[in-house]
């Protein structure tokens, strides 16, 4: 028993030492940090997706320094924050996020952050009628992929404009002018998409992709949208989904299906193979940008370029 008592006190000593070490080490690291950094008069804006960051930069122009958290080709459902991302969020004057659960559990953190700095969901002004509810689910569960309906994205632009104008009132007119110019471009884009999709013969206006991100796009521009995977890129598709989609392709004589930049293409390839065995040739119509934009510096690295790319790819393959 004596021995046991001994190791017990050794344990206690150990725990005390560790608590002491932790406290001192934590205190020293914390003191080394300095919150203040270079004030160049610019608003520091952090956005979750590349699409939001692009709009924020367009509206903020010379008075905004925008950083996005999710880079090209990153699936927001699978995004993991790095230490630098924490800094970006900490340093930001304004944070924009998509909302509607696109960012998963991060949303809880944004709600908590809201108390301390302007943290705004760009989807906040959309009404119940404008949003798609996820089929078979209770109220409040909406399809988050709002950027595919350019009209809805105009609403997002307005949210960003109003937030910037409020936070930085001295440049409010500048932001409003920028936003007006950008919204004009978006309206042209919207018209372009409608016009282009209308050139596809009506029976061929069927968009088949790997996951259900294009619901808003289909509704806005008149395409029937079918996906293999659920809206969530994590949910697994069943064997029935594969054969159902295959039969659908054969029945409707769909010419092309599309792969997505942020979703592996293996799933859609198995459907193509299945259709081929039934004697129906389907080709891959090209790669669409869904949850993330193209690389920065390319045309597809902007919101407008990305939507144009998607429209042109779809039209070229289905016409």
């Amino acid at each position: 028993m004596g021995k046991m008592y001994k190791s017990n006190s050794a344990l206690r000593r150990f725990i005390m030492t560790i608590i002491f070490l932790t406290v001192t080490a934590v205190a020293t690291t914390a003191c080394g940090q300095n919150a203040a950094d270079g004030e160049n008069g610019k608003l520091k804006i952090t956005a979750t997706t590349g699409m939001i960051a692009d709009v924020a930069q367009q509206v903020g122009g010379d008075y905004a320094e925008v950083s996005g958290l999710m880079g090209a080709g990153i699936d927001p459902h699978l995004y993991k924050a790095s230490q630098g991302d924490v800094k970006k969020l900490d340093d930001a004057d304004i944070i924009f996020y998509n909302g509607l659960h696109l960012e998963g559990k991060m949303a809880e953190m944004f709600e908590a952050l809201e108390k301390r700095k302007p943290t705004v969901a760009v989807s906040q002004n959309l009404t119940e009628e404008q949003l798609h509810s996820a089929p078979g689910q209770g109220a409040g569960m909406h399809d988050p992929h709002i950027w595919f309906n350019v009209k809805l994205w105009i609403s997002a632009t307005e949210v960003i404009r109003d937030t910037l104008a409020e936070k930085d009132a001295s440049h409010a007119d500048y932001y409003k002018d920028n936003a007006a110019a950008y919204i004009k471009q978006l309206e042209e884009l919207d018209a372009y998409a409608k016009e282009q999709i209308a050139t596809i013969p009506e029976a061929s206006r069927i968009l088949v992709t790997a996951h259900d991100a294009f619901g808003y796009f289909g509704e806005a521009y008149g395409l029937t949208v079918t996906g293999l995977q659920g809206m969530n890129t994590m949910s697994e598709y069943g064997s029935k989904d594969v054969s159902k989609l295959r039969d659908y392709l054969v029945e409707k004589k769909v010419k092309a299906v599309f792969i997505e930049s942020s979703v592996p293409k293996k799933s859609i390839e198995s459907v193509i193979e299945g259709a081929r065995q039934l004697g129906h040739e389907v080709k891959i119509g090209g790669e669409l940008f869904s949850d993330a934009m193209g690389d920065a510096g390319t045309v597809e690295g902007t919101y407008i370029g990305m939507v144009k790319h998607n429209v042109d790819t779809i039209v070229a393959a289905l016409k």
């Binding site: 046991m4 190791s7 017990n8 050794a10 344990l11 000593r13 150990f14 725990i15 030492t17 560790i18 070490l21 932790t22 080490a25 934590v26 205190a27 690291t29 914390a30 940090q33 459902h77 993991k80 924050a81 790095s82 230490q83 630098g84 991302d85 924490v86 800094k87 969020l89 900490d90 659960h101 998963g104 559990k105 991060m106 809880e108 953190m109 908590a112 952050l113 108390k115 301390r116 996820a134 089929p135 078979g136 689910q137 209770g138 409040g140 569960m141 259900d212 659920g230 809206m231 969530n232 994590m234 949910s235 697994e236 069943g238």
Partner: protein, 289 residues
């Protein structure tokens, strides 16, 4: 401040996991953390389907319930003669599969998995503040994990002798009248409480990693339980600090870096442990020859 809270949270997780991990490693049940990380899935799905909300407290409660169920089933199977690794495997794969089936039946269109609903992220802890009457009380995670650590140290501290005896020689423990099964279930209860509250605060990989690796490191360094617990906690806390430093330098995932640091410490212990280290053994052999 973000660094302070992240490190404190990491240290608290490391301490909870470090203490419990030792007992799990000794009982050859180290993979139980990973098992719980999967088996809470049906709990989350059922809670979501019944309530239609993603309220994190409710989700945590559901996860805790299934965490307890998991450990209970594992313990039960093991006591009826199935090997511990097999009983862990049976329970968590089956429960996880039930969760997957439920999602595919009822909730296809919703983001419903542990990642989206339960798992926190250590990078965000300092923004999730607990406010009491308008006063900033610090991150919720620190309170949650602090309470968990307090409960763990109290229970283990009170029944240290019993836990020790059950870990090393359950037959002897039973012979001298210790209710062995009760203490096994108690330990498992602590494990599921610690893992679920840590999942909610910092995510899965960090918890699973810190539950196994530092305890294994300590196992290589000593043969005494008290010292092993101390070393395990020390190795865990050191991993969180080294890992955080690496995450700053590399601009990488914080939890990922912390677990890598824990693995690095393990490798060092594996090579250079005075008693078990393979390099030390080689040197000793050479001296003999």
């Amino acid at each position: 401040m973000s660094d302070f809270w992240i490190l404190l949270t990491g240290a608290l997780v490391a301490s909870c996991c470090g203490v419990l991990g030792v007992f799990l490693v000794l009982r050859k049940m180290a993979m139980i953390g990973d098992a719980i990380s999967h088996s809470v899935m049906p709990g989350i799905v059922i809670a979501f389907l019944l309530s239609g909300s993603r309220d994190s407290l409710l989700m945590m409660f559901a996860a805790l319930l299934f965490g307890l169920l998991t450990t209970f089933l594992i313990q039960m199977f093991q006591q009826s003669g199935i090997q511990s690794d097999a009983s862990i495997g049976v329970v968590f794969t089956a429960l996880f599969a039930i969760g997957v089936v439920l999602v595919s039946l009822y909730a296809r269109q919703v983001h419903l998995d542990q990642d989206a609903i339960l798992y926190g992220e250590i990078a965000y802890v300092h923004w999730n503040i607990w406010e009491l009457g308008g006063v900033n009380m610090g991150p919720k995670a620190v309170w949650l994990l602090g309470t968990t650590l307090l409960i763990i140290t109290t229970v283990i501290g009170l029944f240290y002798k019993q836990f020790k005896l059950c870990a090393f020689d359950p037959a002897l423990a039973a012979a001298i009248g210790v209710p062995v099964a009760l203490f096994h279930y108690l330990l498992m209860g602590l494990v599921s409480m610690a893992t679920v509250s840590s999942f909610e605060s910092v995510g899965a990989i960090l918890v699973v990693g810190l539950l196994i690796i530092p305890a294994s490191t300590a196992y290589l360094l000593t043969d005494r339980l008290g010292v092993m617990i101390g070393l395990s906690v020390a190795a865990g806390v050191a991993s969180t600090f080294i890992g955080y430093g690496a995450a700053v330098v590399l601009d990488a995932s914080i939890a990922g870096c912390m677990v890598c640091a824990a693995a690095l410490l393990f490798v060092i212990a594996f090579l250079f442990s005075p008693s078990h280290g393979i390099v030390i053994k080689k040197i000793r052999l050479r001296k003999l020859a």
